[in-house]
Structure formats: C-alpha cells, structure tokens
Amino acid sequence: MQGASGAGQGHPGAAQGQPAKQNPRGWVMLALLVAIAAVLLIVFPAQREPSLNAFWQFLVEMMTVMPAVLVIMGLFAVWVPKEAVNRHMGRGSGARGLALAVVFGTLPTGPLYAAFPLTKGLLDKGASPANVFVFLAAWACIKVPQELIELQFLGWRFTVARFGFTVAVIVAMAFVFQWLLGERESDVADRV
C-alpha cells in the first residue's frame, strides 16, 4: 500500500487555477514499487504471467475510462462553483435541506478535507448539524463523476446498491449525530 500513501493531496479539483502540483514523492514510491515487483517476478517466474496479465487487464480498463472521467470532473470543477453550494445550503432545513445536502455533496469534486472549511461556513450560516453530516458524507463517498469509475470496476448492481444504501444510512445517521451532539450544538456553532 506504500505506493498510495500521501497521494491524497494530488486530488482532482482541489486546486483550481493553480499550477500542476508536483508529486515527486509519489513517483519515487512508484519507482520503488516497480523495482520490488521486478525482483519478485524475476525470483518467482511462475507468478510472472498471472501478475502481468492482471496488471495489463486493469491498466486497459483504467485507460479506457480515466481520461473521460477526469474531463467530466474538470467540467464539474469549473461549472459548479463552491459559492453556489454555500449559498443554497446555508438556509437549508427539513427534508428540503437534507435533499439539498445530498445533491450538493455529490456534485463538487475534491477530497473530503477540501470540504472542511466549506462546512464551517455552512454551520456559521445556520445549517443544521444533520444537514452538514449528510453533506460531508455525500461529498466523501458518492461523487457523481467518480461513480462512473465504480461502475466500470464494480458493476451496476454494486454501484446502485452502494449509492442507495449510502444515502439512506447517512440520512439516518445524521439524526443520530445531531442528537448526540445534543444541547452543546450551540457551543459547536459558536466555536467554529
């Protein structure tokens, strides 16, 4: 898993209008990983074919969809400005607020930590903790453009099931969250 660590900062949509972020650590890790893989494959020739086959198969699957998904994510980043999210969610309450939280959570691109400052703004403007919980959860794991990649690798059934259950469970959890946050909710709002 080492090859993956620290890659979070190089996430789509996080840096809009800034120069490309260099990620030398990522490339060094990759080189290291390739070297280890090469040694393993030389030492164990029997594993060479299945390993290379699997690598090649997933590489092809990746290359046939990744450019399209990256372009869609780029379009989302320029057409769904974060201010719009802020404007509409601030006053959201009740069922409408929850629905908006799901919709707005799934639209923008970027890693979860890019949503923290936005969340703070929402709480400041009086969004309920339940809505904010739903917004963060939807932002985290049901991004619309990314679902396309999920479709490619995990299939229709899995993707639709995970999407549906995620919405249902996070809405239910949101109320538990609000209830547990309890009377100190105002403290939190004050602090943030």
Binding site: Y113, I149, F153, L154
Partner: protein, 160 residues
C-alpha cells in the same frame, strides 16, 4: 469495449460539447484541471495497478477469500474498516482496488465497507478536521461514519 466504457466516454463527449457551446474559456479551464488531476493521480494509479498485479499473481484466491471473503464474517469487515480508516488514498483509486479484490474472492460487504471508510473516515486528516470543526464534532462524525460504513456494507452484501 463494453457498454460501460462506451457510455462513460459518450457522457464525457456530450458534456464537453455542451460546455463548449456555453463557454469556451471555462471548457479550456476544465481540460487544464483534468490534465493536472491526471498528472498528480498518475503515480498513485500506476502504483495501485502494480499492487493489483502482484496481489492477483502471488496471493492465492483461497487466501484472499479466507481473509476477506464471504465466510470471513466480522473479522473481514473489521479488517476492511480499519484499513479503510487508516489508509489515505483517493476514492477514485479505491474502485479498481475493490474490483480486483472481488475478482480474487472478496465479499461485496468487505469491499463496500473498505470504500466507504476510505472516503468517509480519515485518521490522517483528523487533526485538520478538529482544527476547523472542533473536537466533539470531528470525533462524533468519524465514529458514526465508521458505524454507517459497516451498516452500508452489510446491506450491500445482502443484495449484491
């Protein structure tokens, strides 16, 4: 070329055309953003592909099945939840990884729990979240997200 690949690319082309008609400048910006994302994701994506190759080539399917397969039960779910919470990899990358695990015999429940915790629960970003949103909010959110991930995983496993 399967139907998923064709639809995804068709959607992308349609979006680009609509965007071009509405605003050329913004479309160029979007392509720049896409290129930047691609460049910064590339080492991670390639690294995961190498790992997938090694995983499927070296680890026998029975072993993967025993650790995170249908019969792995609570242990498999907890392993996935722990790994998903601690690891910090983009969710885009988690889908091919999840696909390879399922191909090797992992259960849908385990993969759903892994993907959900990977994205919703972040040990690495805890300090950042606490700084912005406060300790109580952060710990409650991450704790409940962990519980939510397990419930989602069990439900997904029940229908897939």
């Amino acid at each position: 070329m399967n139907i998923t690949v064709l639809s995804i690319n068709a959607i992308a082309v349609a979006c680009v055309i609509v965007s071009l008609v509405k605003d050329r400048q913004k479309t160029v910006q979007a392509f720049r953003a896409a290129w930047r994302s691609g460049v910064s994701l590339a080492p991670t994506l390639l690294g995961i592909l190498v790992l997938i190759g090694l995983l499927l080539g070296f680890v026998p399917a029975e072993t993967i099945g025993r650790v995170v397969g249908e019969g792995s039960g609570v242990t498999g779910v907890l392993t996935a939840a722990l790994l998903g919470s601690v690891l910090h990899i983009p969710s885009l990358v988690s889908f091919p990884l999840g696909g390879s695990l399922i191909a090797a015999g992992a259960s849908a429940t385990v993969v759903a729990v892994f993907i959900t915790t990977l994205t919703m629960v972040g040990f690495v970003t805890l300090p950042m979240e606490i700084r912005v949103l406060g300790k109580r909010f952060t710990l409650l959110r991450n704790g409940l997200s962990l519980v939510a991930a397990v419930i989602i995983g069990v439900l997904v496993g029940a229908v897939v």
